[in-house]
Symmetry: C2
Subunit: 398 residues, 2 copies
Amino acid sequence: MKPVKTLRVPGFRGAGMSCGLKKSGKPDLALVVSDLPCVSEVVFTKNKVFAAPVAWGKALKGRISTLRGIVANSGNANACTGAEGLRAVRDTAAAACAALALPKDSLLVSSTGVIGVRMPFEKIVDAMPDLVGSLSPDGILPACDAIMTTDAFPKRGIRKVKVAGGTVTIGGIAKGAGMIAPNMGTMLGYLFTDASIAAGDLKRVFRDSVDRSFNRIVVDGDTSTNDTAAIFANGACGLPPLSGDDLEAFALALHDLLLDLALMIVRDGEGATRVVRIAVTGAKSDADAEKATRAVATSPLVKTMVAGADANWGRVIAAVGRAGIAMNQEKAEVSFAGEIVLKAGMVIDPKAEARAVPKIKKEAFEIRVDLGLGSGSHYVYFSDLTHAYIDCNAGYRS
Amino acid sequence: MKPVKTLRVPGFRGAGMSCGLKKSGKPDLALVVSDLPCVSEVVFTKNKVFAAPVAWGKALKGRISTLRGIVANSGNANACTGAEGLRAVRDTAAAACAALALPKDSLLVSSTGVIGVRMPFEKIVDAMPDLVGSLSPDGILPACDAIMTTDAFPKRGIRKVKVAGGTVTIGGIAKGAGMIAPNMGTMLGYLFTDASIAAGDLKRVFRDSVDRSFNRIVVDGDTSTNDTAAIFANGACGLPPLSGDDLEAFALALHDLLLDLALMIVRDGEGATRVVRIAVTGAKSDADAEKATRAVATSPLVKTMVAGADANWGRVIAAVGRAGIAMNQEKAEVSFAGEIVLKAGMVIDPKAEARAVPKIKKEAFEIRVDLGLGSGSHYVYFSDLTHAYIDCNAGYRS
């Protein structure tokens, strides 16, 4: 799960720099752009309070599938900023496209950082010539650095997929330390590939992969106002559009990379020491199973239990019991790291809990709950809750 | 909000003792009983994983309105204990009723403590003669002490209501440090009154009061497996059944007492330093408003913000935005302790936040969110999230 040290995707160039949005002087402005036209797809936050760049991106509608890359800033979320915030997005996009000699609306704009503060977009506009001037095939790494907020480490990865006639590359960068940051941060994820792929196929495999990666991680349950995930495919590989087994191999590699990036975010969950996969099976429906996994993954009692490496399954089953789903406690089975601690709603093997303890002291493990009612299932990954989370979030902002 | 030092309710006697369920030797067995027949009402946890005493109590059905009091233990929740757990409840109830020469099923049984451990009810049965022998009119206080688990202080209170022809008394005891305890504790609340009141009236005013007190507090969002609230009215005041203005005065006093007890529980929320009332108005429906208040009250970002006395309203509005309700951010208004920090989805007065800061450093304050959509409203009280919560819950159980 370590960040890769090189990240080149044919036909893409990137750059990152400091334009003065962060008081610390750390990099805060990122650009990644394809030299060729792309097919693209973007997934935005479902929060009904959404930032100006999200509002602007949603308004792109059909053009969302022909974007060439991203311009993203950290240090300011441009959320709850009204009409002036939208203007800031429009001017940022226009400045970047002009400097690149691209048609307007060719780039996705994202912001992450403090909420409710006017976006000083003049700094971004002024920096644009320098940013464009420093674009390079190795520039995706500095772009990744420039979107970090409270992230303890950068999140990025690469996959190469063998297909008929050659190889295609998928590179990805992401940020987020639990969908949150001291000042309401965000999850951002960007994927770049030289694959040649039909827009409809890209949309389908990307949305499916996001649904099973970024949408299955929980640090604190607080969906951000700025979450955005996007993919750009420029066809620079020079091969015909992916189909059949090749498309499937691409989809698998994409999901693998997205899950890696998503797990890096959980692992970086503010103060997190462990990553747990909670899987619920035997529910009446998949929707019920999802409610149960999310109740467990957001329960402060469960999250502190994980931090303390305590196989306190009572907290897990009680969280499922309040999830508002169909349930009969006498049919419930719970296991920690493969040890069945509860069966038919009772303790059958009193020693199972003790056997589980060394296994849940590891950095990652699984909790399974089978409800014995039907075939509904779901899983999510979540982090634990430690003192460092309090330190990170109870501090005064300025 | 300080616990009263005397608590007598005419016609009721109580007792508390240690019967050996707690390793610490602290009191763990409580009994409160009326010398006269009562009308009664009980409200149980809605968690689908519920303890044996809850299952047993629910099965009492019609008899739930003629109970004479409670026998309750701490140190063991008798939850996830199967058929043997139910037997333990039955034998406990039978032993208590026999020692009191009451018909069987005259008492409510409650348990609170560790989950999934066999209930050694022989200890309770053996202790029953001593417990009954120590019953006294001043014994409601030691009964209150004997139901405590991680509570930092006992929760109890008394109200006297002037009615035509005299005065009626309502005494109440409760336990809970946030519906939770290191080993899955519970919220218990018991009310005793010498009022004469029709069963239907008691049911209505009690359920309504519980709905606006115990059901409006949030420490961690983790509903317990054992929550129980009960009221017993024995008519010892010798007055005719309450009606008209007297019934209304009784209902007001009952709600006032219940809210006091509920707020004591929030105030004792593990590690809590502040109590916040979150009120949502202008929602499309009351149900929407409730979803919004609960999203805010359980958000770790909001709870750490309260601990840090940071007027970080972005976290509040983002929690409302993910609550799954009808919302238009451009109509939203947020105030902290009366200072309007967000209006029409934007910062209108940049100094409002600074003005709010000294006000939210107090032990209690209010956050209001108006959605500007309709007439739906709701409020709940919640506690903050501090290091002490982690210490209390990440520790190993044994």
